[in-house]
Symmetry: C2
Subunit: 362 residues, 2 copies
């Protein structure tokens, strides 16, 4: 596939309809890439913030119009833009494809020059104020090279879409609407339902119990903080793909409850979870990467982190990731560095030689 990430844009003007988290992040990420951008939103406050952030300009006949809206708002918005800018090319970024696009098609609104896409990125907080230029960096971005009838998308529109995706640092992945909807039901909509239902069980919990919560409960329920109206719409519009998964989950839950009630082993349920968990690829949707983790205990005094990274630089190793474990209120620390196995060995030898407290890599 052509790499457009550094190339000049194949169009000169872009109107982004919808100035929430996704729309504003797209706008921010395309600043300085040689195109004029107009931000729009039905909420004047969001529109003003997004226009300031993105240095929005008023456009006449924008070449490309990108809808960053909940699916339910798409038909109305598309109708308005078609009336104003019939010569534009259209792109959407909705979380579900088949049903919303069929809804638009049924109103005879879906133009030939419409590219359906979906960036696999988001945050559990929304709005223009949460937008980040790097939101899509290293993420997957699904696009549909053909429409629901199987007709290929106009090549110029496709090039514009691929340019936007790659300019934002994302990796384009071609899928049909049906494949996409089945996939997101499993990797996005099912985890959302499960996290929400789990977090829902906490509402009757005593605070002395919740005070014992560790990282397990926190990680398992992180996405339960997501917006209810947005997710209500997403789950409803993909109910056809989601329901069989929920029914399978119901069946497994019922079998586990019965086993526990009868004093039978539930190890097979945990093992099935082990297998499923191992099938998830590594960070950011790329292939699973195996890092070696090198724990280093640093002293609670200024400049220790800087000194540690000076050592990393002089050992010429690549730090892929790191975590800090610290006590509340101040920095005292166990730093765990993630590196390739060979770099971990080089760095470990180097640090031990310089008197650092390095623990065994794992």
């Amino acid at each position: 596939m052509a790499d457009f990430s550094q190339a000049r844009a194949p169009f000169s003007s872009l109107k982004i309809v919808g100035s929430g988290l996704i729309g504003t992040s797209i706008g921010l990420g395309l600043i300085g890439r040689g195109i004029s951008i107009e931000m729009q939103d039905s909420d004047p406050r969001a529109q003003k913030l997004a226009r300031d952030l993105v240095k929005s300009q008023e456009l006449v006949n924008p070449e490309v119009i990108l809808f960053a809206l909940p699916s339910s708002a798409l038909p109305e918005s598309l109708k308005r833009e078609l009336a104003l800018n019939s010569g534009s090319k259209f792109i959407d970024i909705g979380s579900v494809k088949t049903k919303p696009l069929l809804d638009v098609s049924r109103s005879a609104l879906l133009p030939a020059n419409f590219l359906a896409t979906h960036p696999m990125a988001g945050r559990e907080v929304g709005g223009a104020e949460s937008a980040r230029a790097d939101l899509f960096q290293s993420r997957t971005w699904v696009y549909m090279p053909a429409d629901l009838q199987g007709l290929p998308v106009d090549p110029e529109l496709l090039a514009a879409g691929l340019w936007i995706i790659q300019a934002l640092g994302a990796t384009p992945v071609a899928m049909s609407a049906a494949e996409h909807d089945r996939a997101v039901a499993l990797v996005s909509h099912l985890p959302q339902v499960v996290a929400s239902l789990l977090a829902g069980q906490l509402v009757t919990g005593e605070s002395s119990a919740l005070d014992l919560a560790g990282s397990g409960l926190r990680d398992t329920t992180r996405i339960a903080a997501s917006k209810a109206d947005l997710w209500d719409e997403i789950l409803a519009s993909n109910a056809e793909e989601l329901l069989p998964l929920l029914i399978s989950l119901q069946s497994d839950l019922g079998a586990l409850v019965e086993a526990l009630q009868n004093g039978q082993s539930v190890a097979s349920f945990i093992e099935k979870g082990n297998t499923g968990r191992a099938m998830i690829p590594g960070k950011h949707g790329g292939a699973a990467r195996e890092y070696t983790y090198l724990p280093v205990v640093i002293e609670d005094k200024p400049g220790q982190l800087a000194a540690l990274f000076d050592e990393c630089a002089s050992a010429k190793v690549n730090i892929e990731d790191l975590t800090i474990e610290h006590s509340p209120g101040q920095f005292t620390g166990l730093i765990t560095l993630a590196l390739s196995q060979s770099d971990a060995q080089i760095l470990s030898d180097h640090l031990i030689g310089s008197g650092w407290k390095v623990h065994a890599p794992r």
Copy 2:
């Protein structure tokens, strides 16, 4: 409560029976605190590794014996130690309290000088090789000041237990066995079941679908990697507290499925999850802490991280945590620093003044 974290130990010798993740981490964490430690395990390989790591000594009549074992192994092990060391004081760290302790009591084995405790710490990987001296740092550690009959624990034994807990950097929390078991059913056992069942649904997923997995699915299923035999035992021994929670979850899942099937809104389920999620206290079980997050884009060249931390040191700010977002294979980066609001402002001004690419704090 007395703070024993820096005090001398109120005993001189400790035998740790069980050299897995928890036992070995306790041993590692108590090195250099002025007590003699003996590590033991029924698995000779684990015992050898733990003895090397902890610099274990052979003890005659250890004052305190700590059992770091699955509950099912406790009665047999306790019987053996009572025969050998009838004058010792005993401590356990089992994940469930009521049923395992009743099982021991029924065999007329539970000695008067027995302190039941449970550290709220762990990892999804096990064994002596995963042990960390800092595993309990800033975590909660539950202890039962009275036995199942309500008789108070011997004050010398209680002092020994509280010293161990605080010497390891944990915070002791007094609870009855029943309160503890009800609490962990909600904050630990229920999330484990939910994560395992969710991950179990992935086993029939297509790899093109799993390639779209983002941080939501990864976080929600992280603990699904936990050991099946260990968790089978934990869930079975706390079935009485866990089952009502599972049945409530079943009921909510059933109602959500019905709503989706009937085209009704499921927003109330997501909202209930929002409420539950907001009830979880902050990192490490302490009070929720509000950090300000300062994103800094750094260049892909050696020494940038070191230079950034040099700036932090010269601005005299405390970095509480940080994350790195990077592209596969090499370091290119968005560093997000977590600081107090005032430190974030100081650092942001400082970095902008020195030409760094600082984004708006959030």
